[in-house]
Amino acid sequence: MAALEVDDVAVTFGGLAALTSVDLVAEAGAVTGLIGPNGAGKTTLFNVICGLQRARRGRVQLDGRDVTGARTFNRARLGLARTFQRLEVFGSLTTRENLLVAAEMQRNGRDPHAVAQEILEEVGLTEYADAHVDSIPTGLARLVELGRALATDPKVLLLDEPSSGLDESETTAFGELLLRLAERGLAVLLVEHDVELVMRVCSQIYVLDFGEIIASGPPDSIRRSSAVQAAYLGTPVAAHASGNGSAS
């Protein structure tokens, strides 16, 4: 049974199809990649998974439990956590307080302060523990979001472009952190523009374009897929007109 399973999800905004019949599986103990050009529907899919966006059709399952109609906070209590592409940190609180808020919502009997301290060290934010989050650099604020998500002790972790704003060495460290999390048994679903990072850490990759999964498989097969190359690198204009223009 997969930690996260998405079946046949469709979303429309007005007349525009944002997602058309998306299927996706994220296994525990692995990092699953979700890539695709901007506007492909990656963030919309995340919103559907965590319940911030209602789907027109389809099902979302966590650990085999159907959560399609469940409210956002109930999904979170079942072990789903996420970060946001457009930051949603608690800016008027300090880094430590951000983690505390998340830890205090859990009913697992662990001391929130201990959890917060542990995570500060794990994601490397001890130096910024007592700084207000809206005054730290964006790349680090993304780590605060990651730490906050981890403080809920999740089973499934959705990361929306977590590495943007990080420099090269920070990105490398970040990739290692992701692999460590997967080793611990987490199912990580990673939306990322840094294709190298995705290829390095993901065991399975989905490619979303115009609201549809156009390819999926292990990194090597994705690298070779012509559909992916067309979506990412472009094809001659004539071919584009007859090929990919299902929505615009």
Partner: protein, 696 residues
């Protein structure tokens, strides 16, 4: 069935609805383009009606010229000036600040009108086309009614056309969604915003003039005119503050409902006729709000978060001690009504403290805290007295039983939870308006009903001071010291709350409800809890407030007061609602300023009370510049003075790298613009073919 009466009431209703529609569409126009709800809309309408009287009656200019001067020049100019000087600075301000600034503007404009047109002289406006009527059957319709209805229809068409077909109108609609994108596309959001406020003021002015001269018979009365336009807010809410056609439908519902309920005494129940009928527009406003679809959870917004140092337990205990000592000194030095005024200010301060967790921490707005205070006073009066037999009678637990204070907290908190249940899912502005409607409805249907605090007889309004046996609170001095103790304790409690898990959760909720939900917290449950807690504290404050004079009147717990829920909210925010010192100052301001102006007035032998109103207005408006409130502003400057540096610098140093400190996370400027963001921008601007990176 009396068809003639029905027809007559319908025509009256439609004419009234037409005025509401005109006023409400002005509100919609300003809201859609600036994103700011103009509480002062009614006051602008009132001011224009008076200006029209000045030009038309006092100076005797012809009707057409007077209309041209007022609606073609004075009103648009006033609207534009308000936008330029006040509204523009509020774009990134929290909702509480924008509400306070426009509400203060309303109070200020009412003060200005009182100064310019003292109410001791009666004024009236001639009706348009005096005496000209047409008959439909046996029903007589005045030309003015036809004119009003015709104008509304014409405006509906014109506004719809403006927003649908003209470049300017479409740009106006676009501005509210994304100012920056409109600017990037070559639009001029700043200009559009000014334009819409000019148009909004013009529509308010037209509504004001029609009301003052029309068949409705409001006449030129400052408060009444201002308030009637507020009825139009309900109409605007039917249109969700966006849709002009739905706004007109809403106006029609309200106008007709009002005329029918007035015209047909539906029941022979006198209470229904005198206490419920007048608040029909507010009942409809409440219903309209409850029918609003649940919005998506809001994410982080571009709001200047003001960082406020949270005092430690030690510090807050020490300062509370200082306050009690100060209370004792004042009690020794001051006597008579000055002493009770200060006591009332302190009790109001406790009520304002109830807004600290709710507004200061959670960012939610309540415009009905005095309603909860009234419920608290009611509970105290019935639990802790032995005599009263009026209304619900007395529990007769005993004179001044401290159980009364507990009852005040519990009953107010329960009512708060009850009202919050349907309303709490509403966001920001809508919750604020729902609480306003609740305050007005409760004021008329509950407090003024006679059974609660009587209607003139002092017996029902008697509120005992708590009696703790060993120390007597019967002297006014002792009561002031007691109030200082309670204020100090509540302040310590509120600050302890802020340092603990619940306080963190409240700030998190203010910063991003969406993130709270994805972490497993229920935003609705948290809001419900804090709303109920806040109501309970207000109830406690209300019971103590009643004890100052040992008597209360219904008017004290109304929306406008005095002191009233609106002023309590405004001055709490002006003082600094995220601090506990703010309410202390706010409460004293609310009570002492009018006393001071009255005193100065008697010395100078002129009536200075309207100037007090203007001063309140200016204080609120000043908040636009210092959104943290007076306490934060003063303490920042004081620290700057002590350290000999500019405030901005100290702030920066304490908070990390200077460049990042200027950038707000979540905004596109929060980081160097990444390629992905450029692509996103291109997609939004429909420029795929140019970029050549994202999509072929």
């Amino acid at each position: 069935m009396d068809w003639n009466k029905l027809l007559e009431l319908t025509i009256y209703g439609v004419a009234l609805a037409s005025i509401y529609a005109i006023a409400a569409s002005g509100l919609v126009v300003t809201y859609t383009t600036s994103g700011i709800f103009n509480f002062a809309h009614g006051a602008i309408g009132m001011l224009m009606a008076f200006t029209y009287w000045q030009v038309r009656v006092q100076w005797g200019l012809p009707t057409w010229l007077s209309l041209l001067i007022v609606l073609g020049f004075v009103a648009p100019f006033t609207g534009a000036v308000i936008e330029r000087t006040l509204i523009r600075n509020l774009r990134a301000a929290p909702l509480a600040v924008t509400l306070v600034v426009t509400a203060a503007l309303m109070v200020g404009l009412m003060g200005v009108a009182t100064v310019l047109w003292p109410p001791d002289q009666s004024r009236s406006l001639p009706a348009f086309f005096t005496g000209k009527t047409v008959s439909i059957g046996s029903t007589i319709v005045t030309y003015q009614q036809l004119l009003t209805i015709g104008l509304a229809v014409l405006l509906a068409i014109l506004l719809k056309a403006l927003f649908t077909w003209t470049r300017t109108g479409i740009a106006m609609r676009a501005v509210v969604d994304s100012r920056d994108l409109v600017a990037l596309n070559g639009g001029r959001p700043v200009m559009l915003s000014t334009l819409s406020w000019a148009l909004g003021a013009m529509l308010a002015g037209l509504a004001g003039i029609l009301l003052a001269s029309g068949p409705i018979g409001i006449g030129l009365v400052i408060e009444a005119l201002t308030l009637v336009v507020i009825n139009a807010y309900a109409a605007a809410l039917f249109g969700r503050l966006r849709s002009i056609p739905l706004t007109f439908v809403g106006a029609l519902i309200i106008g007709l409902a009002q005329q029918y309920t007035v015209g047909y005494s539906i029941t022979k129940n006198a209470f229904f006729n005198t206490q419920i009928v007048p608040v029909v527009p507010y009942l409809l406003l409440f219903v309209a709000l409850l029918l609003m679809p649940e919005g998506r959870l809001r994410g982080a917004q571009l709001v200047h978060a003001i960082k406020i140092r949270v005092p430690s337990l030690r510090t807050s205990v020490i300062w509370s001690g200082v306050l009690v000592l100060g209370g004792w000194v004042v009690a020794e030095l001051v006597t008579g009504t000055n002493l009770t005024t200060i006591s009332k200010g302190l009790a109001i301060g406790i009520i304002m403290l109830s807004l600290v967790p709710l507004t200061g921490y959670a960012g939610q707005i309540s415009l009905c805290q005095m309603t909860f205070a009234g419920i608290g006073a009611f509970a105290m009066s019935r639990v802790a007295s032995s005599g009263t037999t009026v209304g619900f009678g007395s529990l007769g637990i005993g004179n001044g039983s401290p159980l009364g204070l507990l009852a005040a907290f519990v009953l107010a908190a329960a009512v708060g939870a009850l009202i919050a249940l349907p309303a709490i899912r509403l966001q920001g502005l809508y919750l604020a308006l729902a609480t306003m409607a609740f305050a007005v409805i409760m004021s008329s249907a509950f407090f003024e009903g006679g059974a609660i605090f009587g209607t003139g007889s002092t017996d029902a309004g008697a509120v005992q001071r708590p009696d703790f046996g060993m120390f007597s609170l019967s002297s006014n001095g002792a009561y002031l010291v007691f109030l200082s103790v309670v204020f100090g304790l509540v302040a310590i409690g509120v600050l302890a709350l802020r340092r603990g898990p619940f306080g963190r959760r409240l700030l998190a909720l203010r910063d991003s409800p969406a993130a709270v939900a994805t972490l497993g917290g229920s935003p609705t449950r948290t809001k419900l809890l804090v709303f109920s807690l806040s109501a309970g504290l207000a109830g406690l404050g209300g019971a103590l407030y009643g004890g100052v004079d040992r008597n209360v009147t219904p008017g004290q717990f109304s929306f406008f007061g005095p002191p009233g829920s609106l002023a309590v909210f405004v001055l709490a925010v002006v003082g600094g609602v995220a601090t506990v010192t703010g309410p202390l100052i706010g409460g004293q301001l609310l009570l002492l300023v009018p006393v001071f102006f009255t005193w100065l007035g008697t010395k100078l032998k002129t009536d200075l009370t309207p100037y007090a109103q203007v001063l309140f207005g200016l204080a609120g408006i000043g908040l636009g510049r210092n959104p943290g409130g007076a306490v934060v502003e003063i303490s920042t400057r004081f620290r700057a003075l002590v350290s000999g540096r500019m405030p901005r610098e100290t702030e920066m140093e304490a908070n990390g790298p200077p460049i990042e400190a200027l950038l707000v996370p979540g905004s596109p400027l929060g980081a160097p613009i990444a390629e992905s963001q450029l692509l996103e921008l291109d997609a939004l601007l429909d420029l795929e073919e140019v970029s050549g990176l994202g999509r072929a």
